[in-house]
Symmetry: C2
Subunit: 475 residues, 2 copies
Amino acid sequence: MNKSHNSDTANGIQHDQDIDLTNSLRKWADSFGVTLESSEFAAQMDLADPLREVRSNFTFPTMKDLPCVDLSLIEKPDEECIYLCGNSLGLKPKRADAYQQEVLNCWAKLGVFTHFTGRFPAAKCDLLVKDSLVKLVGAENTDEVVCMNGLTVNIHLLLISFYRPTATRYKIMIEGHAFPSDRYAVVSQLNLHGYTEEDGLIILQTRPGEHILRTEDILASIEKHGEHVAVIFLSGVHYYTGQKFDIETITKSGQAKGCLVGWDLAHAVGNVELKIHDWNVDFACWCTYKYLNSGAGGIAGVFIHQKHHHDNRPKFCGWWSNREDTRFEMKHSVDAAAGADSYRLCNPPPALVALHIAGLEIFEEAGMDRLLTKQYLLTGYLEHLMDHLALSDAGEDKFVEIITPRDPRQRGTQLSVMFPFSVKDIHERLEKRGVVCDVRLPSVMRLAPTASYNTFTDVYRFFTVLKQVMIECKM
Amino acid sequence: MNKSHNSDTANGIQHDQDIDLTNSLRKWADSFGVTLESSEFAAQMDLADPLREVRSNFTFPTMKDLPCVDLSLIEKPDEECIYLCGNSLGLKPKRADAYQQEVLNCWAKLGVFTHFTGRFPAAKCDLLVKDSLVKLVGAENTDEVVCMNGLTVNIHLLLISFYRPTATRYKIMIEGHAFPSDRYAVVSQLNLHGYTEEDGLIILQTRPGEHILRTEDILASIEKHGEHVAVIFLSGVHYYTGQKFDIETITKSGQAKGCLVGWDLAHAVGNVELKIHDWNVDFACWCTYKYLNSGAGGIAGVFIHQKHHHDNRPKFCGWWSNREDTRFEMKHSVDAAAGADSYRLCNPPPALVALHIAGLEIFEEAGMDRLLTKQYLLTGYLEHLMDHLALSDAGEDKFVEIITPRDPRQRGTQLSVMFPFSVKDIHERLEKRGVVCDVRLPSVMRLAPTASYNTFTDVYRFFTVLKQVMIECKM
Ligand SMILES: Cc1ncc(COP(=O)(O)O)c(C=O)c1O
Ligand SMILES: Cc1ncc(COP(=O)(O)O)c(C=O)c1O
């Protein structure tokens, strides 16, 4: 699998290359001598998967342990569930337990000396993730990235610095279906500076009947409103639709109009290829409990482009904004740490950093390139089976509607789907059969076959369960 | 011990009562038939201590495990160290390991269902500490308190709401020796609103040659500057001197001048009696890794007085500011949670909440009243031994100078001391002998015999080591 896609780069695909995923999946099927829709195909793909061992780094919930499973509908209660929910909460890396115990042991054994001793020295542990973060987001160097706080806290800390409204340029551009936390954050920042939501927001809307924001429409809106926009703040991959935005193009066009352009990479990091330094992104932030598997409420991340490291914008400060080596001189003024580190406020929690590291190490070991190649095939396979389900079912091709872009260059792992039946009802039926995925109001189900732990067989199992559920629903 | 101090209330003492601590300690000594300066006294006090079993809830570092210990100077390398550093990082509650493992197990077993299931359901776990926090800070009800983020982050979130400068009232009053993080936070808030440190800060200074801020001087400064002061932000117990501020009186006098009055309770919570609702405190915040034993970088706490729950001040928002029951309706505007909960931004980390709970439960079990009574005696005992050391040593009563107030009503557990020799040198010598305490620049050593895990024998052992070190230093 690795070899035959050696030439694939960004997200497993070159932009100028044939991207007929079904075609390349079918070639695999032919080489195995099976049909693409057979269970054997999935089994063969798993065998050929160079990352097949990565799954063993994670603990999978079993069927019988899930609160929603109806055991009378399950053949093997001890079997691993069909977990397609990495978009919400990634699975637990097995090593997390040992790392967490190490944090506890160090505290127990050393008391306050745990601040500077051991594998996760409390006062420096946040620095340990920098190299990994540089690679995951495509930063230029470790000064551009930092882990701290939670995502929404970081959105605020970034906007305090980067949203500097003036009389003529005070608006913030977001999209109409932004994640609520981002919208609430942005609106409260507008309010802080005396602007109302109505006046201060420029909201990107999809065209009537469409789910996906077209890049051309975003660029047109920037062209139209840009001179009044202080900050453009969008998500790298959309939580609801799974759409991946063209970060480079949008950033460039926003900056050409004098806007600062920041990105919420919650659903992008660990999921799609990012080169945010090269793309000249001004600032970015992300959470780590989705594709990076750091656990609920995990410590979040921030990127500040190098060009802003010395531009003296207002910034919230704390003692952790200070350089490490002079911090305990306890001066009256901050002796600022380099780059993104100066955005830190508090001493970091080693318990959360250790969990973050447990997840990141698996990415280091697997290699993001290989994960991207696998993700491309895995999502393409899910897409094909969903299409097959729709077509095979009496030719109703709207049976299952995938609203995520069909072009793999415009998405990551997640497919968002709609059904002609109640999505809540379908979701409940799937859950009873051991499928874990989620629903976002008003009407999509999110399916994220995650390259680090999902198999082609997981996707195939999901497909057979869904087929069954759909038949039930039609009855 | 309990009985004979039954009438003691606030911090173990009634304000109108005889507070000659040495006298009451001496009565204990007489009743044991030993001298107050003998090791037997400490042993007897430990036997009489109704909280003597509480210590067994904590893991004590042993002599041999500490990085600074010189084993050639230690008789029993397996003995517990002399830990007087609860002011910096409290010791690990033994149960923390099991709770942390429960968080990990739940994540492993349930995946995303860990959000709503199990002992520490990720999406609600932060609510579990509210009852304890109400008691510890003296809130009126659970709506007034919340745990979230780190302390300095919370200082900023509070000041965004409560620091609303106007042309004539834009100053912030802090004290000259405020903890750096607090000062950096306050100054960056001033800057955000366009004020400079020079113009915007009103700094309370001690009188020449004094270490302790006199309440009368604070009140005089409020009287003088109050009409221009938007916010008074002080610490409940001072990190450097150990002084406990008269929160009630200062709050009242600030409010009489039209100021809002907020408190950083980092060194006060779990250490001194707090009734911040009754004292009419506008807002407060604290960290939990000191006396509350939640571990480095532990989740922090916030108090918002009920009177501010509906005053519509600007506030940073996130999806966690929203009511729990409507959060996933993902509306465009925040449907605000009650009171302090509306200051939350992010989904909480169960790993940190579980550690917080491990510490809080011990407080619940021991009872804050009993802890305060013990603290009063323990600190008084340390004070007496330090005085004794000074006097016994050739009558030089400045041998060890305690800068913390001598009046136990004006302090908590911490004594801050100065020496006629290099404090760094003394500190190193103490550390070599298994004493854990810290030094804060420029010149104090902080000693915190912590009621939840320290014994009278710990204090006595410290005294004998210090005596030895002082003799060495004089040589
Ligand atoms: C009074 C005071 N304020 C602020 C802080 C900083 O706390 P954090 O790093 O948790 O934000 C401390 C830490 O010791 C403190 O004692
Ligand atoms: C796009 C986006 N923004 C913000 C958040 C909120 O994150 P947090 O609770 O970590 O602040 C999420 C959480 O899923 C998200 O997906």
